[in-house]
């Protein structure tokens, strides 16, 4: 087992560079999950509750997009945000904004597909009651989404896990620039390629610890909520 005292020392001494990297990782991935939720939850609910031509195809496509390879997403977003690309004038390439965009693209299908499944199952359970209460479509959707809140939190965590773990997309659109777009995963990739394996392993353990912490927090919130609402 390689000596990972270096990374541990960095953590314990509160090394500012390490903390900046951790902060950036959380900022990028949490922002992506928030945006993906804003898009994905209504989208999933819409597909679950609306009959439209090609609906089955849309469901299959949504499920398939959960497995989008991050590096492909990175390449696609890079081409779009490049100065030579359609959205180049925003100057977003090689910034944290580009990384958030790429991860949002990755995470939205996950949240949308899981939302769709959850809401569709709930609709089967509540259909009679909600129809009998003469609710309009918006009220129906909000009632279902609120009722599904715990399952949706799990979907958000799945999305966060995906975002926090990936490197292929953000290294292409972010450029792994020290101090600006270097996150935990891109730093690990860099240190590995430089042959500094102990540091890379240490960073990896820090990353895993953070992901576990986020999940533990969400679990606590969920348990407390469930106790209150059954």
């Amino acid at each position: 087992m390689p000596n990972d005292a270096t990374a541990l020392q960095l953590v314990l001494s509160g090394d500012p560079a390490l903390f900046a990297i951790v902060r950036l990782s959380l900022y990028v991935s949490l922002s992506a999950v928030a945006l993906a939720a804003l898009i994905g939850i209504p989208l999933g609910a819409f597909i679950a509750l609306t009959k439209f031509p090609g609906r089955q195809g849309a469901i299959v496509l949504l499920n398939a997009l959960m497995g989008l390879p991050p590096v492909v997403v990175g390449l696609a977003v890079y081409l779009v945000l490049s100065r030579s690309g359609p959205l180049g004038s925003f100057g977003l390439l090689f910034t944290a904004g580009a990384m958030i965009i790429a991860q949002t693209v990755l995470v939205t299908p996950i949240i949308a597909a899981l939302t769709r499944q959850t809401i569709e199952d709930l609709w089967i359970e509540y259909r009679d009651e909600l129809t009998a209460m003469n609710l309009g479509p918006l009220d129906r959707v909000t009632a279902l989404i609120w009722d599904a809140r715990f399952s949706l939190v799990t979907a958000l965590l799945a999305g966060f896990g995906r975002a926090a773990a990936e490197v292929g997309a953000i290294i292409i659109v972010g450029g792994n620039i020290e101090g600006f777009t270097r996150t935990m995963t891109t730093a690990i990739a860099l240190e590995t390629s430089k042959g500094d394996l102990p540091l890379a392993v240490g960073l990896g353990l820090v990353l895993i610890a953070i992901v576990i912490a986020v999940n533990a927090m969400a679990w606590t919130v969920r348990r407390a909520g469930e106790r209150l609402a059954g």
Binding site: T95, G195, D196
Partner: protein
Amino acid sequence: MNMLTRRLIIAVTASLVFAGHAAAQDKSIVVASTTSTQDSGLFGHILPMFKAKTGIEVKVVAQGTGQALDTARRGDADVVFVHAKPAEEKFLSEGFGVKRYPVMYNDFILIGPKADPAGVKGSKDIVAALTAIKAKGADFISRGDKSGTHQAELNLWKVAGVDIAKDKGPWYKEIGQGMGAALNTASASNAYVLADRGTWLSFKNRGDLVIAVEGDKRLFNQYGVMLVNPEKHPSVKKDLGQQFIDWLVSAEGQKAIADYKINGEQLFYPNANDSGA
């Protein structure tokens, strides 16, 4: 539901504010350079000096030479700083660069296993060494990624009279990755690999690898810097970019480059005044 919505809105707004703030820090340039230059640690040494003097933040995007030039062609960088003269001159002739300035050189070295199956350790003749490696079928790792190092390697095979594209055998492994990855692979499989001295000096995972061949004049690796042509890409920060270039070739910048050492060893030799470089 209200609480959740509220939190989401705060998160999104905060993101946009943050991103906007970052964009407002405008005294910065993007320099497309290579992974080997980045890995050598040179930028960590000289860029703080440049920032202290001019207040300009230099953001280095480190890629393979081919990718760095491509990034510059697309207008996604302001300055390109690589070490592949033929590719750089092609870049200029296509109109994407303004002018090429030589900056410094370092050298390549042939790294190999201590056991030295091809019997080349200690030689000063890189061409003979490569010929011997091919003859013995000794394992050799190639970067295979159109980088400056890769192009230098291909050039040396050509000088050795080997058409490596045709004559390669299972002993020749192209990995399509950067210098660090190539060294990792060589270390893991006890193979020969052509590396730049800078990356080798900072590389920590050496295993049984040692320097096999060095000092051959044909192993010199010349660096050039160019401003991306603002006529092709009006978004290029030409004033800030030119300031960086001017500093690199100035006495102060050149001294900063020469002063960079690993374990007391100088890595890069400034030669901006060598117009033929």
